[in-house]
Symmetry: C2
Subunit: 172 residues, 2 copies
DNA sequence: TTAAACTTTCATTATTTTTTGAAAGTTTAA
DNA sequence: TTAAACTTTCAAAAAATAATGAAAGTTTAA
């Protein structure tokens, strides 16, 4: 097995771009994910200028995406005393980050879906095969989505080592 | 709390379009997710014509997306005896569906990410704050991704009621 | 007040992703 | 063989999404 040794800048860029393309799959765009990545590994809060500079993105883009990250509850505004400029930091505790993301995804995606699955599975049974199948499958999905949602809310309510503990439970 | 009563066609369309827009968030496009939804609630296997007709999408689009669904292991080709045409069905067991999706997402997304996080967290410690922070955060993410991956593979290896059982364990 | 320092908005532009459909490819029955 | 019945491919078009940047908005210090 080979081991890849990078220097700081290579590693940083690799991390930011990986996180960026990964973003699309937890439902946020590239710039937003890259800003998040940058803040996550920055020991100091960064200003909008800093972020624009580092990631080579426009002011408007930076502003809108920072706003969204704040909406997600994973980036925070910070003020340095004696400075007008706003600075930004990321939630640094990855467990807390995971909990926050789980919470938001439940609220934004899972819960609306559960509502619809419930409505769809409550159509009138008319005895036809197609209606039976629609009801059966949407009921099954509804149940599964419900279970998932309860599990995700469980995560949110737990202490920081929840995931590790859950793993131990599952493995044994 | 209000209850929404739809007729079959309304419910079917609602389900297909909901599943379609949901698709983007487990990493597949709208047409692919809609084809999957259609097959999931269809009591009979459907031909490419059937799917094109129902969803109003082109032949090429249908062909390519069916191929991908087959790659994901959640749609199967079926041949009717005496017929040249190919028919398609979906995996109907939603638990099996979830397991298959978990398995593919682990393989396609999680494992490559884990590899990169590992590489990035192995840069040489040079004593600077920024290097320290990069190593610390990517190590933490690596650990979390690893845990997630093990959990997902655990799901894949389990019997069909795994999710329910896991839930019971976690709640108590 | 005013004006400098900063942030947000949003119409326009650029990029990326998806879809189309016709041509090429494949399979099978005769 | 051949030709009909079907599937796949892929260049081009369309649609969806993201990014830009200048103007509008806001805040603060003097």
């Amino acid at each position: 097995m080979y081991i890849c040794i990078m220097n700081y800048d290579e590693a940083k860029n690799k991390f930011i771009s990986t996180w960026g393309s990964l973003g699309t799959l937890w439902g946020i765009n590239k710039a937003m994910a890259q800003i998040h990545a940058l803040l996550l590994i920055s020991p100091e809060p960064l200003s909008m200028e800093d972020i624009m500079e580092e990631l080579q993105i426009s002011r408007g883009n930076t502003s809108m995406n920072l706003r969204q990250l704040i909406d997600w509850g994973i980036v925070f505004k910070e003020n340095k005393m004696g400075e007008r400029k706003e600075y930004f930091t990321s939630e640094k505790d990855v467990q807390e980050l995971a909990r926050q993301i789980a919470k938001e995804r439940s609220r934004r995606e899972l819960q609306p879906t559960i509502k619809i699955l419930n409505d769809v599975s409550n159509i009138k049974e008319d005895g036809t095969a197609k209606t039976k199948e629609l009801i059966k499958q949407t009921k099954a999905l509804h149940e599964m989505a419900d279970t998932l949602d309860i599990m995700m809310n469980k995560v949110v309510g737990q202490d920081h080592n929840w995931i590790t503990k859950a793993l131990v439970k599952l493995i044994k």
